[in-house]
C-alpha cells in the first residue's frame, strides 16, 4: 500500500503541470456540477416544494360577510373534511395611493386582509423584510408587489375609498405562496395585511368579506375541489360564497409564467454536468495513456496488475480530490446568489442554503468519473507484459492514426499547417471530446446572446400592449366620463377600451378569460400577438384563440364553434391564433355586446401622439378624477425573472467557455507531450519555432472551427427549442420576432468564439513546443 501511494505521489509531483491542469479542470468542473445540480434542484417542482414548506391552502374561499358569520365559517372545515384550516380573515378591496412613488399616479387595487400574525395552521407567510403589523395604521405588503412597484419599508399607502383617507405605513414584506406575481394574473389584486380589527374601519361602506384557507389530507383534484366548493355553498346561506381559488390554478399559472426559467435551469444544469464530465474524462484518458511507459517500468519492478491499476488511479485521484476541495465549495458559494436570484425570478422564498446533497453528488460523480476514466485504460495496461507496456509507451505512433481529409491537406497549404491539421484528426476520441467541450461553450454563448437580445424586445412588446398609458376605472366613474377625459387631452392619439368576460368553449373543463376591444388595438402593438390568420373584423362573431385553447378544444383557424358568453350561446368563427399570454380569447367589442349588451369597458389603453410626455398626460388625467382612476404609465424594463435569466446565462457562458478553453489547453498539452519526439525531429530537420507554433495552433484551430460551427448550429437549435418549449408551455406559439435575433450578422461572430477559445487554449502548449530543446528530447530517447 505504501509503495502504491509513494509511486502515485511521485507521479503527481513529477507531472506537476499535468497535475495542476487536473486540479484546475476538476475545480472548474466541480464548481459547475455543483451549480448545475443546485439549479436542477431549484427547477424541480419549485412551486410544490415552496407550497408544502409554507403549508399552502389547497382551497381558498371568499365569503360575503353580510351573509355569513365567523362562527358559521369556523365549522366549514369539518363540513368539507379539511385536515386543517385558517381564518376567517376579514378582508376588503381598497384602492390605495402610494405617496412616495417615483412615478406619477401610483394607485393600486389591494385586497387588505386582517391577520394577527404570519404563522397560521394554513398559508404561512414568510417575512422577507421588516416585521408584522402591531398597530392600526400599519400594513405588510406582498414581496412581489413591493418589488414591482418600488414600495419600500416606511412608505405610505393612502386608502382612497375610506372616509378620511387613512394612511397605512408599510412595516413589512412577505411572500405569500398563495399569490406569487404569477398569481396576480389570476386574482388581479395583490394582497396586503393589516390587523383584523382594522379591516372593518378600512372597509367603511364598502363590502366586507371573509377568507378561509383549507388544507386536506391529500392534495385534491380539480373535480374534488369543485365538489367541495359545491358542498360549502349548499351548507351556507345563499350567496355566502362569493368566490374560490384552488392551488391547482395557482400552480399552473406559476409554472406557465416561469416555464422559461425552469426549462433554462434544467437544460443548462444538465449541459454543464455533461460538458464538465466529458472534459474530465478526456483529460484523464490522455494522462493515463501517456503513462504506459511508466506502467511497464513498475511492472518490471514487481507491481502486480492490480497494484498498477491502483497506482494509476491514485495518481489521478489525488489531484482530483484537491480540485474537488477547491471547486465544490466554490461552486456551492457561487450557487447561492444564483439560486437566490432564480428564486426571486421565480417569486419564491430564497433558500437559506444550497443543498449539501448537490455537493455530495458532485463529489461522487467527479471521483467516479475520474477513477473510471483512469481505471479502464489502466486495466488494459495492467494486463500487458512489462515489455509490451514499455514498447507501447515508447514506440512511435502507429501509422493507422487518422489523417485529415485530403481536401485539408492541399499541397499549397504551408507544411506546418497541413501537419497541424493532420494532428487534429490523429486521435479521434480525444479530439471529439475536445470539440464537444468547445461546442457546449459556444452553444451557451449563442443562447445567452440571443436571450439577451430577445428578452428586452419581448418585454417591450408586452409592455406596448398596454399602450403608452393605461387607465382603470372603478364603478364610481362612468365609461362616458372616462372617454371624455381621455379624448379631451391634446396628447391623446387613440384610445382603445377593453372589457373582459369569460367564454365557455366546448371541450374545455373551464371557461377561458377573454378580452374584447372597443377600437382597433393593432396600432398599439397587438398586431405583434397575431401568430396566424388575420385580425378581428368589426362585425360580431369572430374570435382569436391561443394555441392552448385551439389544441384542447380541437379547433383551428377557420373553425366555427358554439360558445357561451355570460350564459348566452353565440356562434364564433376562429379567424386567427393569438400569442396573448394573459387571455385565452380575443373578441371584438361587437361580439361581447351581442352576449352582454350592458357590458362596459373597465380599462382604457391610450396611445399618445409622438413626443408626448406620458407622466404629464397621466398627471393631467389624474387631476380630473383624483380618486377613482388608476393610471399606469407603461415602462419597459427587465423584471426579476429576466434578470435571473441574463445573470444565469452570462455566468454559464463564462464558466463553460472557460472549461472549453482549459479542455483545449489540456488536450494540446498532452498532444505536445506525446509528440515531443516528433517535435524534436521536426526541429532537427529545420522547422523554425514559428513554424512549430503555427503547427500546434493549427491543430487547436481546427478543433475550434469544428466546435464553433457545431456550437453555433447547436445553440441556434437549443434557442429555438427553448423558445418554442416556453411558448407551448404557456399555451401559445412563439411570436415571429423571437427568432429574428438569430441573424447571420450576430451568429457568425459568435461562431468565431469557438476559434478564439481554442486558440487561447492552444497558445501556451504551442509556445512550449516551440521552445523545446531538440538535444534534450532526443538525448532522453
Amino acid at each position: 500500500m505504501r509503495a502504491i501511494f509513494t509511486k502515485a505521489w511521485s507521479e503527481v509531483r513529477r507531472r506537476r503541470r499535468q497535475s495542476a491542469v487536473i486540479v484546475v479542470m476538476v475545480a472548474l468542473a466541480g464548481g459547475t456540477i455543483t451549480l448545475g445540480l443546485n439549479l436542477l434542484l431549484e427547477s424541480s417542482h419549485p412551486y410544490d416544494r415552496a407550497f408544502e414548506a409554507q403549508k399552502g391552502a389547497h382551497l381558498k374561499v371568499f365569503y360575503d360577510a353580510s351573509k355569513v358569520t365567523p362562527g358559521e365559517l369556523a365549522s366549514t372545515a369539518a363540513t368539507i373534511g379539511a385536515a386543517s384550516f385558517a381564518g376567517p380573515w376579514p378582508d376588503v378591496y381598497a384602492t390605495v395611493l402610494h405617496r412616495e412613488a417615483s412615478q406619477a399616479n401610483p394607485r393600486y387595487q389591494l385586497d387588505l386582509v386582517g391577520r394577527a400574525g404570519p404563522d397560521e395552521p394554513v398559508e404561512i407567510l414568510r417575512l422577507t423584510a421588516g416585521r408584522w403589523v402591531q398597530a392600526p395604521g400599519e400594513v405588510v405588503v406582498n414581496h412581489s408587489f413591493a418589488e414591482q412597484n418600488g414600495v419600500h419599508l416606511g412608505d405610505h399607502l393612502i386608502s382612497l375609498h375610506t372616509t378620511g383617507k387613512p394612511v397605512l405605513t408599510v412595516v413589512g414584506e412577505a411572500v405569500d405562496i398563495g399569490q406569487t406575481s404569477a398569481g396576480a394574473s389570476i386574482t388581479t389584486t395583490q394582497r396586503a395585511w393589516v390587523l383584523p380589527a382594522h379591516v372593518a374601519e378600512l372597509a367603511g361602506e364598502h363590502g366586507l368579506g371573509y377568507q378561509m384557507a383549507y388544507r386536506f389530507p391529500l392534495a385534491p383534484s380539480q373535480s374534488q375541489l369543485r365538489d367541495t366548493t359545491e358542498r360549502l355553498r349548499d351548507s351556507l346561506p345563499t350567496g355566502a360564497v362569493s368566490g374560490s381559488l384552488s392551488h391547482l390554478a395557482m400552480r399552473d399559472a406559476y409554472n406557465a409564467t416561469n416555464q422559461f426559467l425552469l426549462v433554462l435551469l434544467l437544460a443548462f444544469g444538465v449541459i454543464a454536468l455533461a460538458a464538465s464530465l466529458a472534459t474530465i474524462v478526456n483529460l484523464v484518458l490522455g494522462t493515463v495513456l501517456a503513462s504506459y511507459r511508466e506502467i511497464g517500468v513498475i511492472k518490471a519492478l514487481g507491481f502486480t496488475p492490480l497494484e498498477v491499476v491502483a497506482t494509476l488511479v491514485a495518481g489521478i485521484a489525488i489531484p482530483a480530490l484537491a480540485g474537488c476541495a477547491v471547486g465544490i465549495p466554490a461552486g456551492a458559494a457561487l450557487s447561492l446568489p444564483l439560486v437566490n436570484q432564480a428564486a426571486r425570478g421565480l417569486d419564491l422564498p430564497s433558500p437559506a442554503a444550497v443543498s449539501p446533497f448537490a455537493a455530495a453528488v458532485a463529489l461522487a460523480s467527479i471521483l467516479l468519473s475520474v477513477m473510471l476514466a483512469a481505471a479502464l485504460p489502466a486495466l488494459r495496461a495492467g494486463r500487458m507484459s512489462a515489455v509490451a507496456a514499455i514498447t507501447a509507451g515508447s514506440a512511435p505512433r502507429s501509422a493507422r492514426a487518422l489523417r485529415a481529409p485530403r481536401q485539408l491537406r492541399h499541397p499549397r497549404l504551408p507544411r506546418p499547417v497541413s501537419l497541424g491539421t493532420d494532428d487534429a484528426f490523429a486521435r479521434p476520441l480525444r479530439s471529439a471530446l475536445t470539440v464537444l467541450a468547445i461546442l457546449v461553450g459556444v452553444a451557451t454563448i449563442v443562447v445567452a446572446s440571443a436571450l439577451r437580445e430577445a428578452l428586452p424586445r419581448s418585454l417591450e412588446t408586452t409592455s406596448r400592449l398596454n399602450g403608452d398609458v393605461s387607465v382603470s376605472r372603478g364603478n364610481t366613474v362612468s365609461d362616458n366620463r372616462v372617454m371624455a377625459i381621455l379624448t379631451g387631452q391634446p396628447q391623446t392619439q387613440q384610445v382603445v377600451a377593453v372589457g373582459r368576460g369569460t367564454v365557455v368553449v366546448p371541450g374545455l373543463d373551464y371557461p377561458i378569460d377573454s378580452i374584447a376591444f372597443r377600437g382597433d388595438p393593432r396600432d398599439i402593438g397587438w398586431s405583434a400577438t397575431l401568430v396566424r390568420g388575420r385580425w378581428l373584423g368589426q362585425g360580431p362573431g369572430e374570435v382569436l384563440l391561443t394555441r392552448r385553447v385551439l389544441d384542447q378544444a380541437h379547433l383551428d383557424v377557420g373553425s366555427t364553434f358554439d360558445a357561451v358568453i355570460a350564459g348566452r350561446p353565440l356562434r364564433l368563427h376562429v379567424v386567427g391564433e393569438t400569442g396573448s399570454l394573459s387571455f385565452g380569447a380575443l373578441l371584438a367589442w361587437s361580439t361581447l355586446t351581442t352576449a352582454q349588451p350592458q357590458v362596459q369597458p373597465d380599462r382604457y389603453l391610450v396611445q399618445l401622439r409622438p413626443g408626448s410626455n406620458a407622466d404629464g398626460f397621466a398627471a393631467a388625467v389624474q387631476a380630473q378624477e383624483p380618486d377613482f382612476l388608476t393610471i399606469t404609465v407603461s415602462r419597459a424594463g427587465l423584471d426579476d425573472s429576466a434578470n435571473a435569466i441574463n445573470t444565469l446565462m452570462s455566468f454559464l457562458s463564462v464558466i463553460l467557455g472557460l472549461i472549453a478553453a482549459v479542455g483545449v489547453f489540456s488536450t494540446m498539452l498532452l498532444h505536445v507531450r506525446e509528440r515531443s519526439r516528433d517535435i524534436a525531429i521536426l526541429k532537427a530537420v529545420g522547422m523554425t519555432p514559428r513554424q512549430l507554433l503555427a503547427m500546434v495552433m493549427t491543430c487547436g484551430a481546427v478543433l475550434g472551427v469544428v466546435g464553433g460551427l457545431a456550437g453555433m448550429l447547436a445553440g441556434t437549435h437549443i434557442y429555438r427549442g427553448l423558445v418554442t418549449q416556453l411558448a407551448h408551455g404557456i399555451g401559445v406559439s412563439p411570436p415571429p420576432f423571437a427568432f429574428d435575433v438569430l441573424h447571420p450578422s450576430t451568429l457568425y461572430p459568435l461562431g468565431l468564439t469557438g476559434l478564439a477559445i481554442a486558440l487561447a487554449g492552444a497558445l501556451l502548449p504551442a509556445r512550449r513546443a516551440a521552445r523545446s530543446r531538440v538535444a534534450e528530447v532526443l538525448r532522453s530517447e
Binding site: 501509422a399 516528433d678 521536426l682 532537427a684 513554424q691 538535444a775 532526443l778
Partner: protein
C-alpha cells in the same frame, strides 16, 4: 581544402557551471570532403559534439563555426533555417515521423525550405532510386525494416543537398548486414564529394570507412588520426599533433 567545421575551445556542461562537462575545451577542424569518424566510450561526448555541430544544441563555452556561420550568434529560427539548408542529420533510431509516408518524410525538409513542390519531388525520387527504396515511397515507416528506415532517413538528410552529413551511430540499431549496407551507402556518398561526420563506437567500422578518426574521452579529444593508404590499419595511421594540454 577549405575548413567546413571548426570548433574552438568548445565546452558543454549540463546542470549549470558546476555540472558535468560533456565536452571540455575541444578544438577540432574538419575540412570539406573529409569523412571523419568520432569515436569514444559511452559518455565521452560524441553525440554532444555532433549536436553542437548540427546546431541542435548550444555550447556552454567556445565557438562552433560551420560553413562560415558562427552558430552561437544564430537564434533558434536562424539555426533551424541553417540546419535544413546546410546540414543533414541521420539518427541512430532513424527518427522518421510515423504518420507520414516514406516520400512525405523525405520531402519534409524541402517543404520547410520552401522548395518548389515539383522540384522537391524530382529530387526525392532521385534519392529514393539512388538508395534503392523507390518502391517504398507510399509506405509508412512502421512497415519497413531497420535498414530500409535508415535509408529513408539518409534520403531525408540529403534532400536539400547539405554541405555536411552528420550521422549519429547510424548502424547502432541495425543488424550486421543492414549496418554494412548503410555504411556502404554513406561511403558512396563520401566518394561523390559529401563531407561526412559519423559518430560510432565501432573501431572496425571507423577504420574501414573513415579517412580520419577523432577519439574523445571524458569530453576531451584524446586522439586525432588520419588514416592513409589502401589498407587502413592502425600501422598506417598518421598522427596529427595534439596540443599538450589536450592529452
Amino acid at each position: 581544402m577549405t575548413t567546413l567545421v571548426e570548433l574552438t575551445e568548445v565546452s558543454k556542461r549540463y546542470d549549470g557551471v558546476s555540472g558535468r562537462a560533456a565536452l571540455d575545451g575541444v578544438n577540432l577542424a574538419i575540412d570539406s570532403g573529409e569523412f571523419t569518424a568520432i569515436m569514444g566510450p559511452s559518455g565521452s561526448g560524441k553525440s554532444t559534439l555532433l549536436n553542437l555541430v548540427a546546431g541542435v544544441d548550444r555550447p556552454t563555452g567556445g565557438r562552433v563555426n560551420v560553413a562560415g556561420e558562427e552558430l552561437s550568434r544564430l537564434n533558434e529560427a536562424r539555426l533551424a533555417r541553417f540546419r535544413r539548408a546546410r546540414v543533414g542529420f541521420v539518427f541512430q533510431f532513424f527518427n522518421l515521423l510515423a504518420n507520414l509516408t516514406v516520400l512525405e518524410n523525405v520531402l519534409l525538409p524541402a517543404q520547410l525550405q520552401g522548395t518548389r513542390p515539383a522540384q522537391a519531388r524530382t529530387r526525392a525520387a532521385e534519392l529514393l532510386a539512388q538508395l534503392g527504396i523507390a518502391d517504398l515511397a507510399g509506405t509508412y515507416p512502421a512497415r519497413l525494416s531497420g535498414g530500409q528506415q535508415q535509408r529513408v532517413a539518409i534520403a531525408r538528410a540529403l534532400i536539400n543537398q547539405p554541405l555536411l552529413l552528420l550521422a549519429d551511430e547510424p548502424t547502432g540499431a541495425l543488424d550486421t548486414h543492414g549496418g554494412e549496407q548503410v555504411m556502404e551507402l554513406i561511403e558512396g556518398l563520401h566518394r561523390d564529394g559529401q563531407t561526412v561526420v559519423l559518430v560510432t563506437h565501432d573501431a572496425k567500422l571507423a577504420a574501414r570507412h573513415a579517412g580520419r578518426v577523432v577519439t574523445l574521452i571524458d569530453g576531451h579529444v584524446n586522439d586525432d588520426t588520419r588514416l592513409d593508404g589502401a589498407t587502413p590499419t592502425p600501422h598506417n595511421l598518421v598522427k596529427v599533433r595534439i596540443p599538450e594540454e589536450q592529452r
